[in-house]
Amino acid sequence: MNNIALGRYIPLNTFTHKLDPRFKILGMLILMVSVFFPSGFIGYGVIAAFVFIALLFTKISLKMILKSMKPMIFMLSFLFVINSLVIRTGYVLFNIYGFTLYSDAVFQTLYIMVRLTLMIIITTLLTVSTKPMDLTLGIEDLLSPFKRIGLPSHEIAMMISIALRFIPTLIDETNRIMKAQASRGVDLKEGSFKEKIMAILSLIVPLFVSSFQRAEELADAMEARGYVVAQHRTRYKQLKPTYRDTVMMGGVLSLLGVIIWLSL
């Protein structure tokens, strides 16, 4: 349960928190794009410096980020082993017992590591500083130009927000059904293959049945309160860009400029 902390919304009142979610999503996308430019280690240094400043503005400690990256260490070391066996370009770093390590193997691994780390930090910056509901609103607005080609952006946003709203409820429900079935002798760890299948069915079937019932009741409640699919609604939460968004977008775009220039 402790690992869920990565990327979960932290209610603070920082510069980043106050940004308009639409621009925050755009900003994140631009940062992501800049990470993918082959701008060399200098470029990554620039991006890292930018991201570090963003972390300061969001009041996220580097420690928390590092902690949440722990699970990646295994994957990266695995990648390093593969790379060092496969990549045979660049100059020779050393040679022991007939095994030769080439410089490109190290650089490739480092590249991937830096890219991955930056991308994780960039997404974390967004999710930590934006309420899930505001994210949905941002996505809705950003998708709204596609309404003309028939994309139901409002309905998509409504679906996402209801899904978000019901996640905790469904977690509770799952826990309760698991305990109820454990009381009937279900043991997910022991037993034959057939017994395990039954054990899983005994969790999934009730969860489905109750979710369908919830969905039905929710649909009734929404309809009773005047919700009609595809009918125009007003929106309570209005998003308003501030000077902060201009500052942020200015920063992000100039960064992208620098990165493109470095990659030429």
Binding site: M1, R176, I177, A180, S183, R184, G185, V186, P206, S210
Partner: protein, 284 residues
């Protein structure tokens, strides 16, 4: 063989910012062979308490004794199944745990998990079905095709078929109509009187406590603040009002009559007791 809590503490999500102490220093021994009600406001720890009885939760500190088992935090109890076979736990809205194609199969699910041979499991299941007041014609129906009240009965039959010595029920009558819940409470009373089962019921319904239970455990803020015989507990209304529960109708009448000059000496529990006492006073 007892069911007892010795200095039990329980914390949810320990060592996190969400840590929450749900049980504090619980010392409690349930009387075997009786019907005991566990009451208290929402969030007072009732459900947490009963989940210790079949080791779904382990105490953070202290010891839980259940029948011949000792449950502590130090070593993970082995062979949980044998414990869960003897202590049956029915959760709130148990109809949500039905999943098999037929009612019979669903009721047999428990016994089969506990390695009861199939033929015997079937006999147990049919008996349990009868116990909860449903006839054989239900056996081959789908548990999803029957009414809410019937689903509840089937779910309870699913635990009864395991034939536990101790039956723990978390708000078993929530959402049922008055006659449905009365029938349910009478079933538990019968299981206690005729089959000698020890019954523990978490409830908010004081009418059920006064009419069907022998003892009452009162919880508040994670502590047990009272544990006595039901007749003693309902002697004084102040005790009941302490925990923001509704007074049973009988007690409300009794208190009003006492204020109006009536003098009742004998303890009373059922409507007939009150009627008898009133008529004695008036005809005296």
């Amino acid at each position: 063989m007892p069911i007892a809590f010795e200095k039990v503490n329980f914390k949810y999500a320990p060592n996190t910012p969400f840590a929450y102490e749900a049980l504090k220093n619980i010392d409690l021994a349930f009387e075997m062979g009786k019907v005991t009600a566990i009451i208290g406001p929402t969030g007072s720890g009732k459900s947490t308490l009963v989940q210790h009885l079949n080791a779904l939760l382990l105490p953070s500190e202290g010891t839980v004794l259940v029948l011949d088992r000792t449950i502590t935090n130090k070593h993970k109890p082995k062979e949980l199944k044998s414990l869960r076979q003897r202590v049956g736990l029915v959760f709130q809205f148990p109809e949500y745990q039905l999943f098999e194609e037929t009612i019979l199969k669903d009721i047999m699910f428990g016994p089969l998990n506990f390695k009861v041979p199939e033929a015997q499991a079937k006999v147990l299941a049919m008996n349990a079905l009868k116990l909860v007041g449903l006839d054989e014609s239900f056996a081959e129906k789908s548990p999803l095709d029957i009414s809410g009240g019937q689903k509840r009965r089937v779910a309870i039959a699913g635990i009864l078929a395991i034939n536990p010595d101790v039956l723990v029920l978390d708000e078993p009558t929530a959402g049922l109509d008055p006659q449905g819940s009365k029938a349910m409470m009478e079933l538990f009373l019968r299981l206690n009187k005729e089959n000698g089962k020890t019954i523990l019921i978490v409830t908010h319904d004081m009418e059920h406590v006064i009419n069907y239970c022998d003892n009452v455990v009162v919880m508040k803020d994670g502590e047990v603040i009272n544990h006595q015989r039901v007749t003693d507990y309902f002697e004084r209304k102040t005790q009941v009002e302490d925990i923001q529960m509704n007074l049973p109708q009988l007690l409300m009448f009794k208190e009003a009559l006492l204020d109006g000059g009536f003098e009742f000496k004998q303890p009373m529990r059922y409507l007939e007791d009150l009627a008898e006492a009133i008529s004695k006073e008036i005809k005296r």
